[in-house]
Symmetry: C2
């Protein structure tokens, strides 16, 4: 698999099918780019109407080349692509990039045509990138491949990039060159008929030239494979990604653009967090983070030391660091003493270290080393605004000296606030490239992303629960039975739902379902024991509290009869059908939580957890994870809730059994993976008792997909 992808980035020969003589055409631009980048192998233009293009001998067809072709770049009109791919397959071309657009993005006919391209390629063992893309590129000096129509060949380096948008690919290469950010491989993958982002991740995982991977995505082909694969890759090659379509408007734009299934953005966030992928909101931020990770070690922690020759940008950096969860610690006494001896008396020593405008180069070098070696500091930032009295080149050289004197596990970043950019000498020291930002906030954001990545790297693996075979079979049997009775799917009755939840290992409040008769409700309450809760059941009563369909704390049979009678009258008056009652043993108070499952059309089941009844809905204070959720994930879900203090006994209220709530989350994850029909599950509330007391499900809504409905991939 990995070997087959190699032909895109290290081909020994390239054919350009649809090479053109016409200047300004894409077929001509790709040929010119291949030549200009000095590709280290033969280039074969293919064009039936030309004997020679741009000084190269041209061939009427791939077959006519008469020599092995590793990579074919296809730039013929859409209607001619299928025949060309057949010819490539017949000529044992190893890999083809279809630049041409007009396939799945145009509608069903295009989707069928694209499917045929994939079938032809796969039958022949040929890999395919595209269609509807802008090509591939490698800066490897042994290859020097620019098989794109980008006017830019970026500097060589250790960042490999993949983009789902060709246009943004052009912008990314352009921006990389502007930032002097070195690229290893680049691929625009367009409609992803065959080769996907996942395939490239696998390839770059073992690529010695790639240190960091950058991705621009609009959709996931196989998100479940991504979530298994990305963590393996991210252990050694940080992955920084922009996934657009975060908003409703963006999703609409993305799906009309690429005809791909939209994903819930909370699901995408969960996926990236679980997979150890660094998600940024913007391409600019992606570049900021990549520039740091391409040259600096991952920081050991969030404590940032700052040296600056100006107070203002130091304050801006401090603000941005704290906003992103970083810390500006007080420096150790020994560091402060050394800085006091070094710097003039009016220098500010409360990190940021403000050396004042006149700070000479030697102060930058010495202070950077002192702060970077401080035991309280995990990473160091040097800020420089060129005043009149010092020379940017001298300062940059001094920072490079100071950085070289630091242990190699301490990252260094700089902020040079000048449109003239950063002197090259900054990156010429023994420490190599040192990232430089134009504004303090960009440095803070990049460091914060790197710190979070470090925390992810240090995080234990965790384990998910799996249902025992007999319990899984019990659940499957009950789901089968229900599905036979309800082939179109729908809401599962409480009795079935409770049985399924019980088999999954959850404690559910004891209940009885009875007809819509006050006497029947009272009899059931007598069996359960008091106090009880009475709930109305009916097709329009999903949110029972809203409709006045719940009565709490009924202490005896008379109270149950009265409440049931009143409820019948009330709902009748509101025109709401009442088909029965549920009588439930009332559960002692505790912290209210919500645990549920929602099913994303592209990502599959997501487990959701939240605390605090109304807060869940009012403040949307919930956490999502893809199944399988591990114990580490579940603990992190609770930690990420803003209202988590409630679990620890907020404002004198008793604490809650956190461990029991974690077990509920794990059991629900196992259930979701055992029941692919599960479309929606909502345990709300789950009452979490005092520590050691466990958790009890008090209300549950469960919806199963019908056998006719589409399953999740």
């Amino acid at each position: 698999m990995t070997a087959s992808v190699r032909s895109f980035f290290a081909p020994r020969s390239v054919a350009v099918i649809g090479a053109s003589r016409r200047p300004g055409s894409i077929g001509r631009a790709i040929l010119d780019n291949l030549v200009a980048a000095e590709f280290c192998g033969p280039i074969y233009p293919v064009n039936p109407d030309a004997a020679e293009i741009a000084g190269l001998r041209s061939y009427p067809s791939v077959a006519a080349i008469g020599a092995p072709v590793d990579l074919a770049i296809v730039v013929v009109p859409a209607h001619a692509v299928e025949a060309v791919i057949r010819e490539c397959a017949a000529a044992t071309v190893r890999a083809a990039v279809v630049i041409t657009s007009g396939f799945a993005e145009t509608g069903p006919a295009g989707r069928d045509a694209e499917q045929r391209l994939r079938d032809i390629a796969r039958a022949a063992g040929m890999r395919l990138i595209g269609p509807n893309c802008m090509g591939v590129l490698s800066t490897d000096p042994a290859v020097r491949l620019n098989a794109t129509f980008s006017p830019v060949f970026p500097p060589a380096g250790n960042v490999s990039m993949v983009t789902q948008s060709g246009a943004l690919g052009l912008a990314m290469l352009d921006h990389a060159r502007e930032l002097e950010l070195g690229i290893a491989d680049f691929a625009s993958i367009g409609n992803k008929a065959d080769v996907s982002g996942n395939d490239l991740l696998m390839y770059w995982r073992d690529d010695p030239r790639t240190r960091v991977i950058a991705m621009y995505l609009e959709s996931f082909g196989n998100p479940r494979r991504f979530v298994r694969l990305a963590p393996e890759v991210a252990r050694t090659r940080p992955i920084v990604a922009v996934k657009s379509g975060r908003s409703a408007a963006g999703t609409r734009a993305a799906s009309s653009h690429s005809a791909a299934l939209a994903s819930l953005d909370v699901g995408v966030d969960a996926l990236f967090a679980q997979a150890g992928v660094i998600r940024t909101d913007t391409l600019e931020q992606m570049f900021d983070v990549v520039a740091l990770l391409a040259s600096q070690p991952v920081p050991a922690g969030p404590r940032i030391g700052v040296v600056t020759n100006a107070g203002g940008p130091g304050i801006l950096l401090a603000d941005a660091c704290e906003a992103h969860g970083l810390v500006l610690p007080r420096l150790a006494e020994s560091t402060l003493a050394a800085l006091r001896a070094l710097l003039p008396p009016h220098a500010g020593l409360s990190n940021p270290i403000d050396m004042t405008a006149s700070a000479p180069a030697e102060h930058f070098a010495a202070a950077l080393e002192l702060v970077g070696r401080d035991p309280n500091v995990d990473a160091v930032v040097a800020i420089y605004i060129p005043p009149l009295v010092t020379d940017p080149d001298d300062i940059a050289a001094a920072i490079a000296r100071g950085a070289a004197a630091l242990p190699t596990n301490v990252p260094v970043a700089t902020v040079f606030m000048s449109s003239r950019g950063t002197p090259e000498v900054l990156s010429r020291g023994p420490r190599g490239r040192i990232p430089s930002y134009s504004f303090p906030e960009n440095a803070a954001l990049a460091l914060a992303a790197a710190v979070r990545h470090g925390a992810w790297l240090r995080r234990p693996a965790g384990a998910a629960r799996v249902l025992s075979p007999p319990r899984a079979e019990e659940i499957r049997a009950r789901v089968r039975g229900w599905s036979e009775r309800n082939p179109d799917g729908g809401w599962v009755g409480l009795d079935d739902a409770v049985a399924i939840l019980g088999a999954a290992g959850l404690r559910v409040a004891p209940h009885r379902s009875v007809p819509a008769e006050p006497a029947a409700a009272a009899a059931a309450a007598d069996e359960l024991g008091y106090p009880v809760v009475l709930k109305a059941v009916g097709p329009a009563l999903l949110h029972k509290t809203d409709a006045g369909g719940v009565a709490l704390g009924l202490a005896d049979a008379a109270a149950v009869r009265a409440a049931a009678g009143a409820m019948r009258v009330r709902l009748g008056a509101a025109g709401l059908a009442l088909t029965g009652f549920v009588v439930q043993r009332q559960i002692a108070a505790g912290v209210e939580a919500l645990v549920g499952v929602t099913s994303d059309p592209s990502l599959g089941p997501l487990v959701v957890a939240g605390i605090g009844g109304v807060a869940v809905e009012l403040y949307k204070d919930v956490a999502f994870r893809l199944t399988p959720v591990t114990d580490i994930d579940a603990v992190e879900m609770l930690d990420q809730l803003r209202g988590r203090a409630v679990l620890d006994g907020f404002r004198g209220a008793p604490a809650a059994d956190r461990g029991a709530l974690v077990e509920v989350i794990l059991a629900i994850s196992a259930l979701a993976d055992a029941v692919p029909e599960l479309a929606e599950l909502d345990l709300n509330p789950v009452i979490v008792h005092a520590p050691g007391g466990g958790a009890t499900v008090v209300d549950a809504r469960m919806r199963l997909r019908g056998s006719a409905s589409p399953r999740v991939a």
Copy 2:
């Protein structure tokens, strides 16, 4: 006042006191800059040791010049500044800029020296900028003043800038030139010994060359004056500001840097919101917003139309627009029909309008005009990523044509994703300058800020409440009485607090304060009527619920006696002193709200409001405003709470009397302004009853400052 500031930006003559022959010195750089910018008046170097500097005749002192000096730039060592300022005053210099540092920022002695400079200047009617700054600048062609040591003289334009940090001033001028953003006036005001940001706002309010004002601030000198002045200015000259020191770390850095009082960042946010000032998080964002407002009208609403030649950046823009509260509407049928007739069949018409990569210039012009004229659209963005097949110059010219055809009240912005920047022809059409951004997100942020500013401009003025003289006098008398008994200030007892709140027009739940005896509590309850709430009183019982010091719903005297006895035992066991009980009539349920006052050392009293008991503390869901709070402010405070749905009857609960809660906020604002001693007030909870039912204060804590404590400025 305004006239006196004019001498800084339109002087007829300039003296540089401390002008130097030494290249690289600040005294030399300022002289060179004045000459290089071709200042339209005489330049007088002053230096006792030189007869001529840089070809100009030099004078031993200001007095020796023998001609009127409008503006003196002072660059002498700190110890010599006072004598120079005296000389300037004697020579009737109109305005002086003290570049020299070493004053208030260095400690008490420096503060005293700075105070003396101000006194000398004010006694002579001379205005003073600085000390510790980097100068002033005007691009007015009739002036051409560069009295800074910045290596950059920015292009002329309509943006006036003020910075509290000289170093960031250098960076701002540099960035303005890089963006080709035109500047009118610029001032670095350093320690603000005399001229403040407020003075400059007043000056620029009437300056015909200034259209937009940009500010970088680290502290406020007179925030109360700012909040009165800024709205007047912002009606005609939008103000865009960065105020650093948002975080604890940043505040620490800012106060060690400028020795100014730190403000609560929530207070700063409130101040800017009330004053109509557009606050941005970063300098980069400040420039993005300024670039839009400097050339485009304020949008009439949040509906953005987008035309693009690439899907990816369109999705990124849609995401960013929605994240910032903007809307991408569906276009009108007539617009869609016209676009369908114009564009190829595979173009995407669900705003963003994706014209695809090959879109020619005439499509850009026509689509921009169609979308900009759509009745559903308030502003339009054109995105362009240069593909091979079109020329950026042609596209830019076409956008300029399309923009010129639009009504002038429709703002136009562009995103040119290319490191080669935006062709100049974009801004050469009859519509003038059109702002261009490198990334879609920057355009979205700028438009969102402009849309919020438009909403502020359309917002009615509102009115604050003022206490009637008899009520104010009643309150003042009680505060005086309390303060005489408590000269050091402290927590006010419930009886006094309730009387003060009652006089301020608030309804407070009836109560009795009694000794710590169960029998006394029961007798008080009998008087009040049942049910009652019993609360423990003691020095360590500020958070009564936490300590088990509150019993609710006591229905008769026996219950009160039992609860009081149990409370006495429980608090005794916990070692908490009990000095008495408060018995209070229990108030019928309603929505719980919090209204309070907190006093900021720099900004003065801030009114705070929140809803929902625990949510206030757990989710920090509160809104702040400076006093006086108007009725419009109060309504906006409630609208800005994330949990505001609770007021409308969330999930079947009854709605609440919003108007009554607004009145509580207004009454508290009036109270805070009538009682300068008020350090802290916390009405929590205020029970807000059903509409028409009003609101009742159930618990109140009030702290007054002692007569010895410092008052707010």
